[in-house]
Symmetry: C2
Subunit: 618 residues, 2 copies
C-alpha cells in the first residue's frame, strides 16, 4: 500500500526541507475552494469524460488494442488528455472513495489503457499499426515521452488514491521499456516537450525503482549537449525547446512556456532527490528570470502567441498575453516543489497567487468551459470554450483542483506549515487543525489546534508578503515569512489577521507596456474592470486617480460570491478619434464615473465586453 495520497512525495527525499500532507487529510467547508473542488468532481470530470468519448480519445485506445477498426483520431498527443483526466479522477476518487460512478469511469479507462499496451510495454495509441515503425524516431516533436509522463503521473495518483496497482503496473512496464531505450545502455535523448522528468521522479518515489530517477536525471542532463543537441534544428529551435545550452547553464526562462516550467519542475524534483548544487543554482536563476522579468501580475507565464512562448525581459503585452492556463499550472507545481525544497514563504505566496489569478481564470464559474489563453486586456471577443482540439488545459485544471487540498499544509522537522487558508479541518500527524475564516474575502483567520503529538512542537503560519500589518493574537508578525506558533500541550488557539486593504500596483518601468497604468489587488486577488459592470461609461475611458478611495464589499449573489471594489473614477471623453495627436488632445472633458472592479478570475462569465486589469492612471 502507498504511504498516503500526497502530491510530490518527498517523505524520503534527502534534500527536502518539507514533506507533503495528504490531499485527503484536509476537508474544506469554505465558500471559495470547496464548491470548486466539489463541482470539479461532479461536473468537470464527468463532462470531460464525455468529451474524451465523443472526440474518440478513448476509442484510440480501443483501436490500439485491436478492438475497433477505425482510424486514429485527433492530435498525436491526445493520449495525454486521457492520462491527465485519469489523474484528476484519481485524486477526486482518493478524496471521495464512495463515488462509485467515478470509480467505474476510472476502472473502465484503465482497462482500455492496459489492453492497448504492447507486449514490450510501449504505449502510445498514435504509434500503432502503420505508424509503429516510427516509434521513438522523432522524440523532439512527437511527444511520446510527454504522453508517457502523464501516464506515470496518473498511475502514481491512482495508486496513492486507491492502493491498486493496476495502472501503476502499466506505467512501470512502459517506464522499463523507456529505460531500455533511453537509459544508460540506450540512447541519450529527451522529449521536445518536458514532462516525463517530474513524472519519472514521482514514479521512483512511488515504486522505489531507482532506474526511473536515473532516467529523469539523464533526460535533464541530455539537454543542450555540445556539439550534438538532442533535439536538433537551429539555435532558435533549440532555445525554444530549452536545448540550446546545458540545463545547468540555462539562466532564464525561455521558449515554450509550459515546456520550460515543466522542465524546471522536473529538475527541482531531481534536486529534491539528489541535491546537486549546480542544478539548484540554475533553477534559482530561472526563477528570478521568471518572477522578476517575465511574469504577468496574475502569475501568468508566456507572453507570445507565436510558439506559446516566453518573451524577452519585460515583454508583457496585455491584450495579446498568451498566459496559457497550463503554464500557470506548471508554475504552481514548480513553486510547490521549491517550497518543499526550501521552506521559503515566497514560493507559497506565488503558488496561492497563481492558483487564484492565473489558474482559476482558465475555467468558467460553472466549471465546464475553459480558456487556453488568459489575456489581461480584451475587447470581449475572448470567450471560454467547452473543449479544444489541443485540450491540454481542461484536464490540467481538473487535476489541479482535484489535488488542491494537498497544497494547504506541509510537514517538516520544525512542525506543521500552513500555506493556504480556508474554512475547514485537517488531520495531520494526529493533530486536528481547524480554520475558521472567510478568507480570501476577509482578513481574519481563527485557527485551533488540538491533539498534536509531542514531536510536532510548532505550527508555522504563512504570512503573505502582501499582508502588511498582519497580527497574530494581537502581536505584529512579519509578512513574507512563516510565523511559528508553539503547540503547548499539542494545542493552540490562534487569531490571525492578514489585513486586506485595496492595493495598487505599478509595473517595473522597463515594462513600458504598463507604464502609466495601475492594477488593483486585495489580499491574494487581482482585480479587473469588466464593461458589464459599467453601464454608464466605456471602461476604456476610465482613469483612476492615485488617491481615489476604493471600497471592498462582499456580494454573495455575484459571480459565485465575490468581494468587489468600487469607487469613483474619472471618465474622459475622446475629443478626437485620431490615433496619434498632440499631448492633451484626448484629455477633456472629464466627468466622474462609478468604477467597479471584480476578481480577474471571474471575468468573462457574464455578457461579453471589454475587460482590463491595467487601468490608466489619471
Amino acid at each position: 500500500m502507498p504511504n498516503s495520497l500526497v502530491i510530490a512525495d518527498t517523505t524520503n527525499s534527502p534534500h527536502a526541507r518539507q514533506r507533503p500532507v495528504p490531499v485527503d487529510a484536509v476537508r474544506l467547508s469554505d465558500s471559495f475552494w470547496r464548491p470548486r473542488i466539489e463541482r470539479n468532481r461532479t461536473d468537470t470530470i464527468p463532462s470531460q469524460y464525455q468529451h474524451c468519448i465523443t472526440t474518440n480519445r478513448i476509442r484510440n485506445f480501443q483501436r490500439a488494442a485491436g478492438k475497433v477498426d477505425a482510424p486514429f483520431e485527433g492530435i498525436f498527443f491526445n493520449d495525454s488528455d486521457i492520462y491527465k483526466w485519469l489523474e484528476a479522477a484519481s485524486w477526486a476518487l482518493g478524496t471521495n472513495p464512495d463515488d462509485e460512478e467515478l470509480r467505474t469511469m476510472v476502472n473502465d479507462i484503465i482497462k482500455e489503457i492496459g489492453d492497448a499496451q504492447q507486449p514490450d510495454g510501449y504505449l502510445n495509441t498514435y504509434f500503432m499499426f502503420e505508424k509503429a515503425a516510427e516509434r521513438w524516431t522523432n522524440v523532439r516533436d512527437m511527444h511520446e515521452l510527454y504522453c508517457a509522463g502523464h501516464l506515470f503521473q496518473a498511475a502514481v495518483a491512482h495508486y496513492r488514491a486507491t492502493g491498486e496497482e493496476s495502472l501503476l503496473n502499466i506505467a512501470r512496464r512502459f517506464a522499463d521499456e523507456i529505460y531500455r531505450v533511453f537509459g544508460p545502455e540506450g540512447r541519450l535523448s529527451a522529449c521536445g516537450h518536458p514532462e516525463a522528468e517530474m513524472a519519472l521522479v514521482e514514479l521512483y518515489r512511488a515504486t522505489g525503482e531507482t532506474n526511473y530517477l536515473t532516467l529523469a536525471q539523464r533526460m535533464i542532463d541530455a539537454r543542450g549537449g555540445n556539439p550534438k543537441n538532442i533535439t536538433g534544428g537551429t539555435w532558435d529551435d533549440r532555445r525554444y525547446l530549452q536545448d540550446h545550452v546545458p540545463f545547468r547553464e540555462l539562466d532564464e526562462v525561455t521558449g515554450h512556456a509550459v515546456r520550460m516550467l515543466y522542465l524546471s519542475t522536473g529538475a527541482t524534483d531531481a534536486v529534491l532527490e539528489r541535491g546537486e548544487p549546480a542544478l539548484r543554482e540554475a533553477l534559482d536563476k530561472q526563477y528570478a528570470s521568471f518572477t522578476k522579468r517575465r511574469m504577468y501580475i496574475t502569475g501568468g507565464a508566456g507572453s507570445r502567441y507565436e510558439g506559446e512562448a516566453f518573451g524577452r525581459d519585460y515583454e508583457l503585452t496585455n491584450d495579446r498575453a498568451y498566459t496559457e492556463t497550463c503554464a500557470a499550472i506548471a508554475s504552481v507545481m514548480w513553486n510547490y516543489r521549491l517550497l518543499l525544497l526550501t521552506g521559503e514563504a515566497k514560493y507559497a505566496d506565488l503558488m496561492e497567487w497563481t492558483l487564484i489569478n492565473a489558474v482559476l481564470p482558465g475555467i468558467s464559474l460553472d466549471q465546464k468551459e475553459y480558456f487556453y489563453q488568459n489575456p489581461l486586456e480584451n475587447d470581449g471577443s475572448h470567450r471560454r470554450k467547452e473543449w479544444f482540439g489541443c485540450a491540454c488545459c481542461p484536464p490540467n485544471v481538473a487535476r489541479t483542483l482535484a489535488q488542491l487540498t494537498g497544497y494547504f499544509y506541509t510537514l517538516s522537522e520544525e512542525g506543521i506549515f500552513v500555506h493556504l487558508y480556508a474554512n475547514g479541518e485537517a488531520h495531520i500527524d494526529g493533530a486536528i487543525i481547524t480554520q475558521q475564516t472567510e478568507y480570501p474575502w476577509q482578513d481574519t483567520i481563527r485557527i485551533t489546534v488540538s491533539g498534536a503529538s509531542a514531536e510536532t512542537k510548532t505550527l508555522h503560519l504563512r504570512i503573505p508578503a502582501w499582508a502588511e500589518g498582519a497580527t497574530l493574537n494581537g502581536s505584529p508578525v512579519t509578512p513574507g515569512s512563516y510565523t511559528p506558533v508553539p503547540l503547548t500541550g499539542g494545542a493552540a488557539e490562534i487569531h490571525l489577521v492578514l489585513p486586506m486593504p485595496v492595493r495598487r500596483f505599478v509595473s517595473h518601468p522597463y515594462a513600458t507596456v504598463d507604464y502609466g497604468l495601475t492594477a488593483l489587488a486585495r489580499g491574494p486577488i487581482v482585480y479587473c474592470l469588466e464593461q458589464v459592470d459599467h453601464s454608464d461609461s466605456d471602461i476604456r475611458n476610465l482613469r483612476l486617480a492615485t488617491d481615489t478611495p476604493l471600497t471592498a464589499e462582499y456580494h454573495a449573489d455575484l459571480l459565485g460570491g465575490v468581494t468587489i471594489l468600487t469607487g469613483q473614477a474619472i471618465s474622459v471623453a475622446q475629443l478626437t478619434d485620431d490615433l496619434y495627436a498632440a499631448p492633451g488632445s484626448y484629455d477633456a472633458p472629464a466627468t466622474s464615473a462609478a468604477l467597479t472592479a471584480i476578481p480577474y478570475y471571474a471575468w468573462a462569465n457574464r455578457e461579453a465586453g471589454s475587460m482590463r486589469i491595467w487601468i490608466p492612471t489619471s
Copy 2:
C-alpha cells in the same frame, strides 16, 4: 512605345483625378533621397542580383527551361523575388539608361524567364516536372497568381523603361493563360496572397487588353463569396485571407497585413478604372480602420508576429510590432493610388510619412541589409540581415527606391501637384520646376517654375498636415491641403516655409500600450532613442518632461547626415527590481540626463543597444 515611365498609369483612367508624372522626369540633387536612389542602383540592386544567383533563384528558371539538372531550391514563391528585382532594375534602368551593366543583368534574366515559360504561357519554376500536375490546384496557399502579379509589374516597368516588349510579351502570354483558367469562361477563384489584382490593372493600362482588367475585377469580386469561399478553411482562415466576407462588405483591415494592403491597392486600381461606388466605400472604411485604429505612428502596418497580421483595434504592441517592411510599401502604393483617385493631401502626407518612417528603416544606411520586421522598441537584439529565405522585403525596398521620383509630382486638369520636396529639378509638360531646399531637415523650400504651358495654369503645393504656421511667399497657407499657386506667364517664384518645431505625440488612450508615453517627431520624421547615444544613462530609465525644450541640430557626419534632437531628460534609478510594486516604488532618485533622439529610420546602424520610439513621460 509606351507613353512614359510612370507608376500606376492613370493617364486614361476615367475615374482618376490625377495622373502620374514619369519617374525620369524628376532629377534630384538633394542629400536625402538622391544618395539613396543612387546607392540603390549601384549597390542594392547588384548585391541582390548576387543573392538571387547564390540562392539559386535564377537557377530555378534554368532548371525549368531544362538547361540544368538540379532540384528546385528555396521556397515555392521565390520566383517573385526575381520579378521584384527585375522591376527594381527596370525603374533604375529607365532613369539611368546608360547603365550597361544593369541592362545586361536585366536582359540576361529576361532571357532565362522567357526560356522557362511553358508553351501554354504558364510560368512558375516551382510547378515544373513532377509538380506540373499540381498547377492551380491550390491557389489559396501556393502563391502562383502572386508570383504572376510580380511578373506583370516587372514587365510593365521594363516596357515603360525601355520600350522593349520582350518581358511584356512573356507577361501577356501568361496573363492570357490565366484568363483562360480564371476568366469568365473559367474558374471563379483568387490567390490567397493578393497582388495580381493591381498588377493586372497595370498590365491592362500598358497593353489596352481589357481581359486583364476583367480578370482583376473578377478576382476582387470572387472573395468572400457565399456559401462557397474561394480559399476554403475556417472563418478565421478566411478572415486571415480577406475571404470571410465579400470585399465590398469588408470594413476593416484584417488578416495578413501585406495581403490586405495589396488587395486594397488592387481594388483602388479597379476603382480608378471603373469607378464603382460600393468598392470605393469599402476602401474608405478599410482606410479608416487602418489609419484610425491599426497603424503604428511610423505608418507601419501589422502588429502580430503570428500570421504577419493586423491585430484588433488599438492592438499596437511596440516591442513585438511586426510592421513588415513590405506592408509599409503596400501602404505607400495604396496611398499613392488613393491620391490619384481623389487628389486629397492626406494620402500624400501618409505616403511621405510611411516612406521615411516605415520603409526606410527596412534598409541599412549602406543599403545592403534589411529588416523584415520593424519594431518600435527593442533591446538591441533585432539587427538587419543581408537576405532572407523568404526575401520579399529586400527587392520590395529596391523597387520602391528605384521608382521614388515618380511619387514627387502628379498632373491634373487643375495643374501640376507637388507632393514631395527635395532639392532637384523636374520637367513636366514642358515646365521646368526647380526645388531648392534642405528638406526634410530644414523648413524652407524655394521653388521656381518656368516654361509652363498656357494650359498648366496652376502649381499645387502640398502643405503637410503637420506644418502648422506654414507660409507661402509670406502668407499663411492651410496645412493638410494643396495650396494653389498661379503660374503667371508659365512661371512662378515660390518661397514656401513648412515650420518644423519638435512635435510631441501621444496615442489614442484606447491604445493602452502607449499610455503615458510620448513620441517625438519633427517635420515628416519620427524619432527614437538609441542607447549608443546615451553613454551616461540607460535609455530605459529616461523620462521626458512635457515642458522640456528640445533642440534640433543637423549633423552632416552622423548616420549619413541627420538632424538630431537633444535636451535634458530625467533619469530615474530603479529602487527595486521587483516586477510589480506599489506606486512610487520606482520613482526616485531622479537626476537630469542628456537625451538624444535620432530619426527612427536610422536606428540599428551602429553598436547594438536598446531603442525606443515611445518615451515614458515624467
